[in-house]
Subunit: 136 residues, 2 copies
DNA sequence: GTACTGTACTACTGCACATAGTACACATGA
DNA sequence: TCATGTGTACTATGTGCAGTAGTACAGTAC
């Protein structure tokens, strides 16, 4: 269902992540959860910047990263649209980055001295929001 | 088994994490995996700095964080030792930080478009290195 | 005393991030 | 044609953090 999205994004000042990364994560998650679908149009660079009261350059940077990764595609003079799914990274690169994410999570669980089985159970539930995507 | 540890730590220049955080993570993980046990002595600030060819201040900063979190205890003029396990954070704080870690992991899995069930399986195996600790 | 330990400062450099402002090419519609 | 809105590119500036460098002080052991 191609349509223009209001794209409700929350920017948290307390969030340790850079603003641009917060936007990137939010958009990617909305695509992964099928809240945004291929063909949907995103808010303009200047529009989203005004909505979030941040600098347009920051939004442009986030959009550029998403475009480079293949999540969005730009149509000059028109706007940005959610791209059709495709394989963006090699399997080796995906495995390597997942290893990093796993390592970071294990470190955090160790730091918190959190029971591993309980942490795993909570993560299991959290992963359920991700909708299966068919990759072209 | 209280003993002095050589503490083989690898500092990766390509690692996006700050050096001090790499040290903190490494020491915490060694304690979590029981490679370091309560009473074990750690290398001196200057000694480890020389071994890793980094600034002593960076090591001191890492040690200070570990001491503040309760993983180590300092004995003035003597050195730093692995502390006996104790509850360091409130349950609410632990839950909050685990939520953050879970959120970060879910974001990464979504970014990689990685099959959630496979990611969970790999994480399950990775968590097995953590030894159960009795918290005082 | 000497030689270790941890700890506490200040100063400086480099880098990432966000902001600010400007400019250009393209598409649309009046 | 012209105005408007779109993405994109570029330079400049300020801020905060990480890391380095150097110095100093207090406690412990021999």
């Amino acid at each position: 269902m191609a349509r223009t999205q209001a794209l409700m994004i929350q920017i948290a000042t307390g969030d340790p992540r850079p603003i641009s990364k917060q936007i990137v994560d939010a958009v990617r998650l909305k695509i992964a959860t099928a809240e945004l679908e291929p063909g949907d149009q995103l808010p303009s660079v200047r529009g989203l910047a005004q909505q979030l009261t941040i600098n347009p350059n920051t939004v442009a940077k986030a959009y550029a990263e998403l475009t480079g990764e293949g999540w969005l595609e730009a149509r000059q003079g028109l706007g940005l649209y959610v791209a059709t799914p495709r394989q963006r990274l090699s399997n080796a690169e995906r495995d390597r980055r997942l290893d990093e994410a796993i390592s970071a999570f294990v470190h955090e669980v160790a730091a918190l001295d959190y029971p591993p089985d309980k942490a795993l159970a909570r993560l299991d539930r959290a992963l359920k929001v991700l909708a299966p995507r068919k990759t072209a």
